[in-house]
């Protein structure tokens, strides 16, 4: 007996579903990025050259300016495009993941339409601002 399936055109796959899926996948991706960051820190010599706070700083924001005060002798090789892209992607996924979470809270708990719409715009603007500042900082440092 062939498996029962419903095609996308039949079942629909609207914005709600896309954002729901994106939020879950972005959370998984952030775990992956953090893992890559931590492996990077270990290759950098974290076991002997860094304390825990420095390791975590690099794990979640792999930017040489964040580990300047460590005993890693040479940070120049770690200021590469790869780590800048990693950091930027982390910021993008973290803020957009959080944005969808906040929008869900607004949808659930703000019943006045004008207030919900205003807060929705405010949250999107603040998120964009944080993302732009974060990515600008990563790319220029």
């Amino acid at each position: 007996m062939k498996p029962r399936t419903v095609s996308i055109s039949q079942r629909g796959f609207d914005f709600e579903t896309s954002m729901w899926l994106f939020t879950r996948l972005s959370a998984l991706l952030m775990y992956l990025f953090a893992l890559i960051g931590m492996v990077g820190a270990l290759i950098m010599g974290a076991r002997t050259q860094m304390n825990l706070a420095d390791v975590l700083r690099w794990t979640f924001m792999p930017n040489p300016s964040h580990v300047l005060n460590t005993n890693v002798p040479d940070l120049a090789p770690w200021s590469t495009v790869f780590w800048k892209v990693m950091g930027s992607l982390f910021v993008f996924f973290a803020t957009s993941h959080g944005l969808h979470g906040l929008l869900s809270v607004l949808e659930d708990y703000i019943s006045r339409v004008w207030l919900r719409k205003s807060l929705r715009i405010l949250v999107v603007l603040v998120t964009l601002l944080i993302s732009v500042i974060g990515i600008y900082m990563i790319l220029t440092s």
Partner: protein
Amino acid sequence: MQITIKIFRYNPEKDKKPRYESYKLEAVETDRVLDLLEKVKGYQDGTLSFRRSCAHGICGSDAMRINGFNRLACKTLVRDTGAKITVEPILGLKVIKDLIVDMEPFFENFRSVIPYFVNDEPEPAQERLQSPEQRERFDDTTKCILCACCTTSCPSFWANEQYLGPAAIVNAHRFIFDSRDRAAAERLKILNDIFGIHRCHTIFNCTLACPREIQVTKAIGEVKKAIVTGSLE
């Protein structure tokens, strides 16, 4: 043993706002909260209003908040509640009187998910056959008695009664995964809505509240998976 039962009271024709009234009565450990309510109504205060019908956990009429938890009064024993009991109407639906709430928004949501068998294909000579495994696939969600314990324990429903709620999704699940049914796509489309399944934030209150012990959150998860993958297996 002596029991003190504190009951939420509200008569819109007399009361400006709801109040609580306490009643003392004798009971044994195997009495049910429904028995206590019957005793209060029969011997102490005939104005007390509550729904009940079968009194055996099947009709789902007497869902109420007992000591803060959504329960069926006919399935909750004094042994499990202790000597001090607080009884309130279920949350998220408008109180009509005392423990009676307006169930219409709940049933409206239920009706919107096409909660019945749909198959327009020509009828076979005998019945539409199904293997034991295919029947097992949706067995858990056939147990729903529409008492609303799950939906009215859900914070997303408290926040917005337009959210379909766990009970509606459970009843959609019952037919979506039925191999004989042909309206799964329509139901998934309905659940895709802004007030549909994605309002569920996996809080698990529904699973804890269900008096039939349906794995409600698991069923909702299976429907979410079907929406994303399209698989009805």
